[in-house]
């Protein structure tokens, strides 16, 4: 069964259970040490459970990991040597039931009980294992690192507060009151009053040792709390990095608009542009981020990002995978606002265009009348590239449009390498040429 747990997904569940036990022990053991409540059946059961599962955990970890898919040559050892060298000692001490051995010794009642309680603190060593486990879970759960770190910090603060409170109770020279809940509550209340620097002063240290302890809590605890709170702002600020970068950019744009007294009408259009860019996730951050990835990953990311376009443009959809892999690196996105000219009649054409979103109008010779409207998946501008002619019509965006461009150099290389693509595009171009007298209907 141990082998089964070791090699399966249940290892995570097992680790979580061990961690839960360690946390319970981390809370209960120091509490009993200072509050000295009697050793009830529950406590005895807990000790048994801890010994059992901590021991099982040692055994499970001693089993070497089965060779995964990465390793070519599985080298079998009877034991997980890495574990023996690192965590074994700590786990073993945490698992060993020292208390049971002490019970057998001829100790008098008072000191014996205290010694047993003290020796049980060895269990807390198990908590040290939280660090590697938590790191592992962070990677597995793929949590936002900031959120994760915040949770971790809060957890640590509460644990620290609990231990400090136990220490405060232990240092109190007055005999323990019967109301243990009250005693503990007042101690933890004092800890938080001090750590948050509220310092009501209704509970203050009296003995010298308490004064020293209080100073220690003030210096360390207050600092830690302040540090956590100071970082909280940082954490909250890093939850949505993309949004923050955009906000910063907008702050610069806003400052520019105000600084140069840009008229409200123009300002509104500039804002509308950026709002569209943000809503459609069209920030030009792609190259910056994927620039240092290896070629294979770059291609995959580019393919994924241009997939909507490829699936819309019949010319692309029917092409080979090799063609897809090549074309994606040469398509650059542009955003046009309503009324913007994508292509102006008479200009020399150095690229062709594929509409990913929105509608454009092909205007007549006087740039007045709309001769045709092209929608998603349509393309235009290929004639100039094929025949080295100037643009034969102006194309104007009717609304916000996402249009991919393909420059002449890449176009020519694609034509050369992929004869199918050449045939297809020439066929369509010829058809268009003939239709120019009749109704201007583009194949999509």
């Amino acid at each position: 069964m141990l082998y089964f747990i070791r090699d399966s997904k249940y290892k995570d569940v097992w680790d979580a259970w061990i961690m839960f036990l360690a946390i319970v022990a981390g809370i209960e053991i120091p509490l009993r040490l200072v509050l000295q409540y009697p050793e009830s059946n529950f406590v005895f059961a807990m000790d048994l459970v801890l010994t059992l599962f901590f021991t099982l955990d040692v055994l499970i970890n001693l089993i070497p990991v089965a060779s995964g898919n990465e390793a070519h040559l599985p080298k079998k050892h009877p034991l997980n040597l890495k574990y023996v060298k690192t965590w074994f000692t700590v786990d073993f001490i945490a698992a060993f039931p020292f208390g049971w051995f002490l019970t057998g010794l001829p100790l008098d009642a008072t000191h014996g009980v205290k010694a047993i309680r003290l020796i049980r603190l060895t269990r807390l060593l198990k908590l040290a294992k939280m660090v590697p486990l938590i790191r592992k879970w962070r990677d597995v759960l793929n949590l936002n690192p900031s959120v994760f770190r915040m949770l971790l910090f809060f957890f640590l603060i509460f644990f620290a507060a609990h231990w400090i409170a136990c220490g405060w109770i232990a240092l109190d020279t007055a005999p323990l009151k019967d109301d243990l809940v009250r005693t503990y509550l007042q101690a933890i209340y004092w800890v938080f009053t001090t750590m948050t620097t509220v310092g009501y002063g209704d509970i203050t240290p009296t003995s010298n040792i308490q004064i020293i302890y209080a100073m220690f809590v003030m210096i360390v605890g207050v600092g830690t709390y302040g540090y956590v709170i100071a970082n909280l702002a940082n954490f909250l600020g890093n939850i949505d990095t993309a949004k923050i970068d955009f906000s910063k950019k907008m702050a610069i744009v806003n400052a520019f608009l105000a600084y140069r007294d840009i008229p409200p009408q123009l300002e509104k259009r500039i804002r509308a542009y950026y709002a569209y860019i943000w809503d459609n996730r069209l920030d030009h951050d792609e190259d910056e981020v994927i620039g240092d990835l290896p070629d294979s990953l770059k291609t995959e990311v580019a393919l994924f990002l241009r997939k909507p376009l490829i699936s819309k443009v019949p010319l692309f959809r029917e092409a080979s995978t090799d063609f897809h892999h090549e074309v994606v690196h040469h398509l650059n996105i542009h955003v046009y606002m309503p009324g913007d000219n994508v292509v102006v009649k008479g200009d020399t054409g150095d690229s062709m265009f594929f509409i990913s979103k929105g509608n454009v109008a092909i205007l007549d010779a006087n740039n007045k009348e709309t001769m045709a409207v092209l929608g998603e998946g349509s393309f235009f501008g290929e004639t100039s590239l094929l025949r080295a002619q100037p643009r034969n019509a102006t194309v104007r965006a009717l609304e916000f449009c996402n249009i991919y461009s393909l420059d002449k150099l890449s176009f020519d290389r694609l034509l050369q390498r992929y004869p199918d693509f050449k045939t297809a595009i020439e066929r369509i171009s010829d058809a268009r040429e003939h239709e120019l007298t009749g109704e201007y209907k583009f194949p999509r």
Copy 2:
């Protein structure tokens, strides 16, 4: 009438009114719950008003938005389906007068009143609607986001403080005193004493539940307050981004001046230069900010920024709009300090200049005497471009001057495209050539 409100600008006023009612309810309802003051006529009236307007708000929001100018194809539905799916439930619960139904039930006096008071907390759900409304207003009012966020935070802090104070009163085991104002004041005073970490200690928790509540306030409230204060610095710092960027630049310049022991005289002139740049908003941040705008917006911004120049230079003023649209992209601003040479006699000329601000002197052959002074709207240096000659005179700035340059490449392209511009500039240049013997008076 509902349709009228829905589709008009009065919707904003209506939303503001609903928000005001929600805020009043958010303050009064928890207060009455804990202070248990008698159900006066005012309270009854308020409940009636809340029910009425919250219900009307549900009805208004159920009406679909009339098709605006963006949508080509208005798809009429009898109901605003998006609203039904999102805010409807929340709004309905907030509007429903649960209290009236409870009044009818056979409850005894004490519990009945308390239940009615508790059930009225459902009204507070309406406050959740603040978030989308506030976002909408931010965009409408075009408020500085930092100022806005600061206001919002302060508002939230005060609301939170009010609710925490109500909770503190509710947990107080001592019977309520007659002086309700005093009771409330002491509670909110305790909240602020704790949240600001002042912690006088004149009011401290006594019962266990109060101790736990106080700890909760310390952990959350203190953190929140600290977070707000920590962000305040950030907020204040971001109000004038342009100024801050300039300050940072000046800090670097100052560090450089100190680090290299630049003599005071030179230092003063460098400072004077930057002061002039700042006062005249001449930071070279234009390209950086508008670099990624679409061409149409870029042109409009450039046109706006160079409007003062265009209106001053007769050559530009009389040109066509097309010319304006093109020329603005090729004019680059330069600042000259008093005594700086804009053009040196004998140098090869690769650009011409348009004076936007200030006066320049044209010097004689020995660079000693001033032959002529050119002011705002004048231009010079065109002869070198037209005839490919070296500069025929030195031009020196008499004061701080803003001068736009137009390089040879752009100049030639403009000459080629705009024959009117060519004619005009050649005519002036010839005139100048002839006048060189007589008094040197430039046409403006």
Copy 3:
């Protein structure tokens, strides 16, 4: 006399004196209002002095500024119109002795005195003038802006604390004790106890109005204090920007060294290099900072920075100012460590070198023996440029050397433009050629 003050440097002294009076008034007037100490002769004298000087200040400011050196056309007005429109009203109210008029009115003793004291608060308006004055002084004194802002903040905090303390005394319902110093001290102590969030709790609000006041101080005062302290770190951090930038760079270098496990021996040399760079202020930040200055300032800065070199190299020292103005833009500094080769025999030479600091050795054909040592002000490498030959000897740095290089392109241009320079350098080069058989002694 007023004219004299207006137009001279004494205006600053006058402004400082007025400011001092305003500060004294700002402290004393609210203090007397709340502590109600009797109107002694000192107080009467002070009031007289305030009225007198504040009135004089109004008169002085009404005089228009005499036309300075910038203005071509002094436009004389009998009054400083800008002042009349802006600060005049405020200054006039602050100067007007309202109290004296009230004294004449038939008011009973108690209310009259109080009214007089209240009306005197109008004097505090004068403090508003601190803002423009302080700004002016900052520019005049050329203080570090961070240091300056810190001083200003501390000043404001103390002023605010004083006024809050006066408010606290005013709200105290208990009759004033005889010990006014003690009363004031306790009030200001309470303010700082609250503002720093220490909150001992030995002085706490009792009446409702005091509770509200205390809350107000907590919310605003605590926030302000926290803001100042939070900014303090920022202030302190910005005092020496150059050092901080260097520290950041070193942090990156250190991280790199640790990250790549660079061996200690190499690490030490890298550190030594940076230490030398820092000690000699050789950070390559020059272009970045002065890059956007106008040409004239750029030249002056470059001239200043290379002055030590020019004064050391006889070839430069004896050249014309024009030559200096041109050469400084083409000289680039390089640092060589002991043992580094500046020039390797047989390499094609594309620049010549001028030694600004340190000694270099010219090695023999086998790069073993030192044939000659060149020191500060010497130059070498010109032969390769003049005759287009490869380097005829290896030159090695004997210690840390600052060497300026002049590339071939700039060298040729200088030769062409400055025949004197050409003659001089050719003469020296020829001389060296002949000496190569004998002792290798370079002219300096």
Copy 4:
């Protein structure tokens, strides 16, 4: 002996000992001044030790430093003049036993003792020397500057707290209690209660002077403590700069992945790539960091970083040092993921490759079968460069591979300069050509 200490490594030990004495004096002297405990033998001995060692320190520092290896011309002075001008006065006053002289004067018991105690405060001047010493140690110990500054700050905070506590005791008007430990503990406890803004209020100022002192501690002490805590976050954040930079990069990548909804499968591979990059320290930060180092250091760093490759590739290992020095600047590292094609059959080859880590497969003509596997130290792709042919086979990475590339230009230059290298590589290439029919086994 003094000379011996001066010129040896023992100077550091000596300085440390002097510093230890200064710290002990800095703690004990103010403590005795306020607690007025009797002048025991220990105190007398301490005074003797301080006088002795501080005097010796003056003498040692007066000895000039022996000429080190940097100085060519040691200029012997009998005294260290720099020391005489700077620290001598301070050190002398700190060393001079003023107390002994006062003992001889006819002072009455009370005032005499007090004067002696006060005069001993001159010893504290020695503490000022900590600043230069600490700076020196920082450079010697090569400590992380952040860790160092944190330690220094904590040290200063504790020192300041001690002195403030002594001041508090001195201002206490009540007669000193017998329990001096308690007295001191309560004072230092009050200091920390105030500085951390906890402010319990169990110890509060009573006299006017104490109130003023408490205000001073609040304003300065609280600010200082807050400053230290605020910087703590900064310090902790700068301990591992490389890690932080990588985290920031990953945050940007993560934001991009989330923002564009990259599918999990692809996301996982991208993460795997970055994890590999981080684990193998392959961040492309090399050029950025070492870019401005002098050539000699750049070469050494590059040599060190490529040493593992050079030692693995026989072709390199056997080459001359000159060749190593040149080749390292032309080798660029690339990372390939499992399945990535390093070279594609038919492509034109513009570089050759050296495997530093991992295995690659040479595929057959159909890119299906593996013809050979190349491991660490192998190279490939040289045939295309030597014969200007297209790639004759596809090479695919079998796992994560670190492969260095050498581009054609550098390759040709190396061939030309190093005939041995040319011979070796041509021999291997020919051998491979012949083997292509038989088993494809590459020489390594």
